[in-house]
């Protein structure tokens, strides 16, 4: 690559060299202790995740097995609501355990704003921040997690990382980065009018996470 901006960068850096010799430019990278934010070893990752999710106005349900998850779903969803689901087979299976009617979000692109609830799984979660990690290569959940006013996410307890650093390593580990990765920490929020916290501006107003395990 050789263009005028790269040439400009190189010539200005060259001009800087004599000044740099006089300055102490901190080029040495120091090692940082990656302390988890909340160090409480008695708390399980799932419990820490729940606390941090609730601190950002998210709801958390701990369920064991598919029957319990399905029951949790029927408790969250109000009968008659239009439901969109991702293409994850687990979500479809769970919906069959309930007697709720489902529609896939992507079937009618000009109709996407008329759904009430979106349901997906997520590929990982982060305990120290209460964050969900969505990987586009594994599931089509970009829109179901964003457009309906309610998003219900299902995560396996074994997929909860302790720290942000751990989650970033997991995403990068040995494989090509997925085309779209999304982190979600609580429902959509704004404080743009008089600094008053308002939940649900562009994304979901409510976020439910069902932890399996």
């Amino acid at each position: 690559m050789n263009n005028e901006i790269l040439r400009s960068i190189r010539s200005h850096l060259a001009a800087s060299a004599p000044h740099d010799a006089r300055e102490q430019v901190s080029r040495r990278l120091t090692q940082i202790n990656a302390d988890p934010i909340s160090v409480n070893l008695r708390q399980s990752a799932a419990e820490l995740f729940r606390l941090n999710l609730e601190a950002v106005n998210g709801h958390c349900v701990i369920a064991q097995g598919e029957t319990e998850i399905a029951r949790a779903l029927t408790q969250i969803i109000v009968r008659g609501q239009r439901i969109a689901i991702s293409d994850n087979p687990l979500v479809e299976r769970l919906m069959h355990l309930t007697d709720l009617e489902i529609e896939a979000l992507t079937i009618a692109p000009n109709d996407i704003f008329s759904y009430d609830v979106g349901i997906s799984t997520v590929q990982a979660a982060i305990a120290e921040t209460g964050t969900l990690v969505l990987v586009s290569a594994d599931e089509r959940h970009r829109l179901v997690s964003l457009v309906p006013p309610v998003h219900i996410a299902i995560v396996d307890a074994s997929r909860i990382c302790e720290t942000l650093a751990e989650a970033l390593t997991l995403l990068r580990n040995g494989r090509e980065l997925s085309r779209a990765v999304t982190f979600i920490t609580g429902p959509s929020r704004t404080a743009d009018i008089e600094l008053t916290l308002t939940v649900g501006v562009h994304g979901p107003q409510e976020l439910y996470v069902i932890v399996n395990g």
């Binding site: 901006i5 960068i9 430019v25 970009r142």
Partner: protein, 455 residues
């Protein structure tokens, strides 16, 4: 409001000081964000180490910016993104208008981006016949009102809920209310129509990861996700300084950015976008264009003092900490970048001629340096810029005064004489009315330290 320029900084500041509503809003915003930042930083035991590390990474990138940019471009393009290089604002705007026009775009949705405000992209798109809709709630409010942002994190902080309600009633037909949730809901519904109709979505970029070609965008509202998911074409505008080496570095930079900006642990949404979708049936845009903007940035590389301006991650912490910004707010700076970092970046981007008052908009107290997550020495930068301005714009009286002062300090006799003269003249002449109107000037002691020592 939008017509203010940096050339009239002093007048702008005076007007802002007389605006009680603005000052009340600023006090609330800066103290709230400042307090949240303090708590968030204190909750991380290794905060100082994170700052040092982040700065070291930035220094490394900036010293080899050409190589990191080449790596970023190679990796982004290998995943299907198309990268465009823009030397200045005009070229960036013409590239973006060209892309939108070729695709016969009529409606463009935008998420908050300082870089596109820097290039005045909206004016260019509108001149090309397109409707541009800002989708961040604060930005949407000020776009409807025809104003400019007053705060980097809370762009419409200068408006009361009453003013927003009135605006939405007039412009959007909302029934009168003072309920902020209702106003927010009105904006949600109106903007969804725009999202559904938009042909192109334009966003900024918080970080570009060299090793993966990923762009990272951070937000709370979800409008960035909609902007980058729904339209067929996504154009991301990125300053050339936004590149970081490794995906794992995001651990440090996300922690610092979010905690310094809003005091959250993480913002609600982080979008990590690497190229375009692999097959038609996947979700997301078909095209991703990344516009790399220089616009005066590469010039800043030429000296280590100015180069550190490019380490800025646009968190806004220095604005909240600055005693000048706390009083006058963002509009007075007459520029896109405001507060302490604005006072050093604006003159470097736009040239010193029209912005020479900005480096003086500081008491050099150092609060900005204390809070900066990447340890930019803003006071030193301010002094550096002042030293460039002074020979050109400094007053003759000032220069003469310092010459006389230097002469006096070098001669013991003249020095003694001057202290005697000072004692007499201080009482005799009403010096600096502007100063003594609100303060008492301590009289010079009748005996100097010298006199006492001799006794």
């Amino acid at each position: 409001m939008s017509s203010l320029t940096s050339e009239t900084f002093r007048e702008n500041a005076k007007a802002a000081l007389a605006d009680a509503q603005l000052r009340g809003a600023l006090k609330n915003a800066t103290s709230l964000f400042g307090e949240r930042r303090r708590e968030a930083a204190a909750s991380l035991p290794n905060w100082e180490a994170l700052r040092t590390q982040a700065r070291a990474i930035k220094d490394e990138v900036l010293l080899h910016l050409d190589r990191y940019l080449e790596e970023f471009v190679r990796n982004a393009e290998s995943c299907g993104a198309k990268v465009h290089w823009a030397r200045d604002a005009a070229q960036a705007n013409s590239i973006i208008c060209g892309l939108a026009t070729e695709r016969q775009a009529r409606i463009v949705v935008k998420s908050k981006s300082m870089t596109t405000e820097e290039t005045h992209l909206n004016d260019a798109l509108e001149a090309a016949g397109m409707q541009v809709v800002e989708t961040d709630l604060g930005e949407y409010i000020i776009q409807l009102a025809g104003e400019t942002p007053s705060h980097i994190i809370a762009p419409a902080i200068h408006k009361t809920r009453g003013q927003v309600a009135e605006l939405f009633t007039t412009e959007l037909g909302m029934p009168p209310t003072d309920d902020i949730a209702q106003m927010t809901h009105t904006a949600r519904l109106t903007l969804r129509d725009h999202f559904a109709a938009a042909d192109v979505g334009i966003s900024g970029v918080n970080f570009g990861v060299a090793e993966t070609g990923t762009i990272v965008i951070v937000e709370n509202e979800g409008n960035i996700r909609l902007t980058t998911s729904l339209p067929r074409v996504h154009i991301a505008v990125m300053g050339i300084e936004k590149v970081i080496p490794h995906f794992a570095d995001l651990d440090i930079f996300l922690k610092l950015l979010v905690r310094s900006g809003t005091g959250q642990r993480l913002s609600t949404y982080q979008s990590f976008i690497t190229g375009v979708k692999k097959q038609q049936s996947d979700e997301g845009p078909e095209e991703l264009h990344i516009v790399l903007l220089d616009n005066g940035r590469s010039r800043m590389l030429a000296h280590p003092v100015t180069r550190q301006s490019l380490a800025c991650i646009r968190c806004g912490a220095c604005l909240n900490a600055c005693p000048v910004y706390q009083q006058i707010g963002g509009h007075a700076y007459g520029s896109v970048y405001q507060g302490p970092i604005g006072a050093v970046i604006t003159p470097q981007l736009m040239g010193i001629e029209k912005t020479s008052q900005l480096p003086y908009a500081s008491t050099l107290c150092g609060a900005c340096r204390e809070v900066c997550p990447v340890k930019i020495d803003i006071p030193r930068l301010l002094l550096h810029l002042r030293s460039e301005i002074a020979p050109r714009k400094g007053s003759i009286v000032e220069r003469l005064a310092f010459k006389v002062w230097a002469r006096m300090m070098m001669s013991p006799t003249l020095y003694k004489l001057s202290s005697v003269a000072g004692r007499i003249f201080q009482r005799a002449t009403p010096i600096s009315r502007a100063w003594t109107n609100d303060r008492d000037l301590r009289p010079i002691e009748s005996k100097s330290f010298h006199d006492l020592w001799n006794e």
